[in-house]
């Protein structure tokens, strides 16, 4: 991008923000059209974890849609870990590549978002520019604006919701643990039939965080950064509990599936009877696509479970920011969100506030198919907020210190 071009973009963006502030709807529409016309013909390299086939297919579908509607090509860069994209942008900043970066859009949240925000690797705030952002539920779904206790500040745009749930095979299992404390007696009765993903993976760490929220003496403390003294005090009951559970896990707790999908594969193969997931509709969708038997049921813990939002963010050095914004906006389109919530597609719960939609738009959600494995909103219970990311980092380190030999 030349200097003049950069200035043009800058002035366009400034005027867009000005228009928003002064509330001129028409000017806003023009500006967005401006952005959309600049986006035409560009290619968006969307860096997204590639371990889930349905998500990959969904991204592929998004690519076909934005190609048809906006003339934008989407290339998914499939990551085996989102951190790869973060380190790539960090490496580019290190090398002084401030303009022609290789990443245009990242599927991101939590610790990765925090480290990109801290290192000033993100472009934005941009979400207020997206026409469809007005439908986002920013009050009922708090994780849309607070990502792991970190204020989002418009630096990332939400696109799907996640909540910790457990899946079990009702053909083999009659009762499943309903609280974190229940896990120990349950595992005694079913040794080797449950495991959590490796704690170095966010899913495994999330299992321990879920336990921590239930076991910590002072739960409010978890919303602030962890300190040495507090960490020892708040996590002491967690480790006592885990010492009892670990030897009763699959492979006697000496080996763990690499991540959530690997644990789901174990459930599918019958190596375990109970697994955790970060997506209430994952099991229903997996049954639909043949990945799990139709006897799988999904439930959550009686005291509620951790929930968070998946976002997309734009690196500061993306050469195709306008096109990336168009894709982020397309993801928030009520029609897209309804398509994503279809269990035959993704099954992920929407980030939008259905009350803000028109009757017609709401009908799209009402018409979606259902499944016995799909929990109702009432089944899901209350959503607990993620602790500050420092707790997760420390839990992972402490777990490694204790159990990796």
């Amino acid at each position: 991008m030349t200097k003049t071009q950069r200035l043009t973009v800058l002035s366009v963006l400034t005027s867009a923000v000005m228009a928003l502030i002064s509330g001129f709807g028409t000017a806003h529409a023009d500006t967005w059209q401006d952005i959309a016309s600049r986006a035409r013909g560009k290619t968006v390299y969307w860096n997204a974890w590639g371990g889930d086939e349905r998500t990959n297919s969904f991204i592929d579908w998004v690519g076909q849609q934005v190609q048809a509607q906006y003339g934008i090509t989407v290339r998914q860069v499939k990551l085996s870990d989102t951190a790869e994209a973060v380190s790539r942008v960090a490496a580019e900043k290190t090398a002084g590549r401030d303009e022609a970066g290789s990443v245009d859009l990242i599927w991101i949240n939590g610790p990765n978002f925090l480290s990109m925000k801290d290192m000033h690797l993100l472009y934005g705030p941009f979400t207020q520019l997206l026409p469809n952002y007005r439908y986002v539920d920013t009050i009922g779904k708090l994780s849309n604006v607070t990502d792991f206790t970190i204020p989002v500040d418009g630096m990332e745009s939400p696109w799907r919701l996640a909540q910790v749930v457990f899946n079990y095979d009702s053909a083999r299992l009659k009762e499943a643990p309903r609280t974190i404390e229940d896990f120990v007696p349950w595992a005694k009765a079913h040794p080797g039939r449950f495991t959590h993903p490796d704690v170095r993976d966010f899913m495994g760490a999330t299992f321990l965080k879920q336990a921590l929220i239930e076991l910590a003496p002072d739960k409010k403390r978890l919303q602030q950064p962890a300190t040495d003294a507090d960490f020892a005090k708040e996590t002491a009951p967690l480790w006592t509990w885990y010492e009892k559970l670990k030897p009763l896990l699959w492979r006697r707790g000496e080996q763990f599936p690499a991540d959530g999908p690997a644990a789901r594969q174990l459930l599918s193969d019958g190596e375990i009877d109970l697994s955790m997931s970060f997506d209430p509709a994952e099991a229903a969708a997996a049954v639909e696509s043949g990945l799990l038997p139709d006897t799988i049921r999904t439930y959550t813990l009686s005291g509620g479970s951790i929930g968070n939002t998946s976002f997309v963010a734009i690196p500061y050095n993306s050469p195709h920011k306008e096109a990336a914004m168009v894709v982020a906006d397309f993801l928030l389109d009520p029609a897209t969100q309804a398509h994503a919530q279809d269990i035959r597609v993704l099954g992920s719960f929407t980030v939008l506030d259905l009350d803000k939609l028109s009757t017609q738009q709401r009908q799209l959600f009402a018409d979606l198919p259902t499944s016995p494995a799909l929990p109702t909103n009432a089944d899901l219970g209350s959503v607990l907020l993620e602790p500050h990311p420092s707790w997760m980092t420390r839990i992972t380190d402490e777990w490694m210190r204790r159990y990796v030999r």
Partner: protein, 583 residues
């Protein structure tokens, strides 16, 4: 071009009288030095500096040992190092023993070309695909246990035993053997063509030795001397493999190469320092292992010489050889079974334990993946075709230059062109990435092609060097006597006679390019997706059916090229038996 170089050369010669007369070999050498030498030297330097704390971009301006302290105090470090050393050495020793025994038992009964056809799928299949298939075959819920469950074992749910990612790394060793055994077999069969095996066998038998003992005492040492370089390549590779280890090796803690890989990929850039230290240690481990291996060679040679000169009849080598050959057969069968398992999974809809075959079959996964396959498939084909094509041209130029300067040196292991395949990839790819970043090439197709070339060229040269040198020089002399220029001789005589080995070298280069995981990832910045990067990324996703589609395509592609390489010379030279490779 040649003339221009000569002119420049003459000017330099007038300054430095000791400089040898520049020729084609120097020109090709210079090109190779730039294309191979610069990225590797830069790669090593840019890895070594951060290993000692020097990485100005994150504030490391002074040399320190802190990264090493961090590496050594990392939980499970000692176990990581132990797994790396034991699995790497075990895989190499076993691959060597099994391949020699296998050749001893089947040689004479099996014609080379038949062996080629049988081994082709195993040679062509990328490591990652093989690992994915093997993981399913060997898992407690895998195909092998399903075959005997529940009627024999009584298992209605899979047993809770670690048969994959086991703490000893046995699954990783098995996976490595599946890939290295066919490679060594091909190399040994080629080496055997240089030795009058039948005569020596008759002489040995006449002196009262059993067939097995003649093989061990007389033939094996001669073969080994010829295949030393491939053995070192196998050793270096086994010690530093990443893609296979991600799938088959224990993960708690993982081998050293995986530790380095994960740190390089971590979002926290300060992790680059201990990652570089781990990568450097990996380099030392490989160098040390090759050193120890050489000492071991001397020890074995001394013992063997004593044993051979001592005479001694009546000992039979047969039972041991047959046992090892049987083990080798099992390994090869596991390899073929893994590939079949991938194909079956790609056609499954549901395949629950303990069913031996899918309960529901479907082409749905193929049709749904068709769109997602196009881009990585195109990248894979173009990358492989371009790098192999360039590598072949340079290899021919290099060998022809050797002929013209009258130097017919053997492929000694220490020749610099083989360095890329003797170094652990993790030890210099990060540094190479820094170089491509500085050149503004990172994430480009060119950077990935270049990274592939580093590994494709040595293998193509390795495959072509021996047949080239074995070419009877009288053909070229006759052509020259009839007035043909060296270039005309090359095009009209040498290349057509060498069509078969050239085709094989192309197929090997193609397979090497398709299999590259780390180079594609580091140089491509993830933007150049190939079937291999997609398959490994998806192997973590737990949908075996989709992984099956990608891994199957990943195997099919190089296999098709390999079979074409075997068949095309036979069609072209349908009326010239010897040239068609039917000797």
């Amino acid at each position: 071009m040649d003339a221009a170089i000569r002119q420049i050369g003459f000017r330099i010669r007038s300054l430095i009288p000791f400089l040898p007369k520049p020729n084609l070999r120097h020109a090709v050498g210079l090109v190779l030095l730039c294309v191979l030498g610069i990225p590797i030297a830069a790669g090593l330097i840019f890895t070594l500096l951060p290993a000692f704390g020097y990485l100005p971009s994150i504030g490391g301006h002074t040399l320190s040992l802190e990264p090493w302290r961090e590496l050594f105090s990392y939980p499970g470090f000692a176990t990581s190092l132990r797994i790396t050393v034991t699995t790497g050495l075990a895989a190499t020793v076993l691959a060597l023993i099994l391949s020699f025994s296998f050749c001893a038992v089947v040689h004479g009964r099996m014609r080379d070309r038949g062996a080629d056809g049988l081994l082709a799928p195993l040679l062509a299949a990328p490591h990652a695909a093989m690992a994915i298939g093997l993981a399913f075959l060997m898992a407690p819920s895998g195909w092998l246990i399903r075959l005997v469950s529940p009627w024999l074992t009584g298992y209605t749910v899979p047993p809770d035993i670690a048969t994959v990612q086991d703490p000893w790394g046995a699954a990783l060793v098995t996976g490595l053997l599946i890939k290295e055994l066919p490679f060594l077999l091909i190399v040994i069969l080629a080496a055997l063509n240089q030795i009058p095996v039948d005569q020596q066998m008759r002489a040995g038998r006449a002196l009262g030795y059993g067939q097995g003992i003649v093989w061990i005492k007389i033939i094996a040492p001669q073969v080994y001397a010829q295949i030393r370089l491939p053995v070192y390549v196998v050793l270096a590779y086994s010690l530093s493999v990443v893609d296979m280890a991600l799938i088959l090796a224990p993960s708690n803690p993982p081998p050293l190469s995986v530790v380095a890989f994960k740190w390089f990929m971590a979002p926290d850039v300060t992790r680059t320092l201990p990652a570089a230290a781990a990568a450097t240690l990996q380099l030392f481990v490989v160098a040390g292992a090759i050193g120890i291996w050489r000492l071991g060679e001397r020890g074995v040679a001394g013992l063997g010489l004593w044993w051979t000169t001592r005479g001694g009849r009546g000992v039979s080598g047969e039972p041991g050889l047959k046992l090892a050959a049987a083990l080798g057969t099992i390994i090869l069968s596991l390899g073929l079974g893994s590939l079949i398992a991938l194909a079956v999974w790609s056609l499954a809809w549901r395949w629950p334990f303990p069913d031996i075959l899918p309960s529901t079959w479907s082409l749905d996964i193929w049709s749904r993946q068709a769109h997602a396959l196009v881009w990585p498939l195109g990248n894979t084909v173009v990358l492989a075709a371009v790098t192999t094509g360039v590598a072949l041209l340079l290899a021919i130029a290099w060998l022809e230059a050797g002929d013209r300067t009258g130097r017919r040196d053997r492929a000694i292991p220490w020749h610099p062109v083989y360095i890329p395949i003797l170094l652990p990839q993790i030890a210099f790819l990060f540094g190479t990435q820094v170089l491509t970043l500085k050149l503004q090439l990172d994430g480009s197709f060119l950077a990935v092609a270049w990274a592939h070339f580093l590994f494709v060229f040595p293998y193509v040269l390795l495959a072509l060097a021996d047949p080239w040198k074995a070419l009877d020089p009288r053909y070229a002399r006759s052509a020259a006597a009839l007035g043909a220029s060296p270039t005309r001789t090359l095009i009209r005589i040498k290349l057509p006679i060498l069509l078969q080995p050239i085709a094989i070298a192309l197929a090997i280069g193609f397979a090497v390019s398709v299999a590259q995981y780390l180079p594609t990832l580091f140089a491509g910045g993830g933007r150049v997706a190939t079937l291999t990067t997609e398959a490994v990324a998806m192997a973590s996703g737990g949908d075996r059916r989709v992984v099956g589609v990608f891994a199957f395509m990943q195997t099919l592609l190089p296999l098709a090229v390999y079979l074409a390489a075997l068949v095309i010379p036979r069609i072209v030279f349908a009326n010239r038996q010897a040239l068609a490779g039917r000797t």
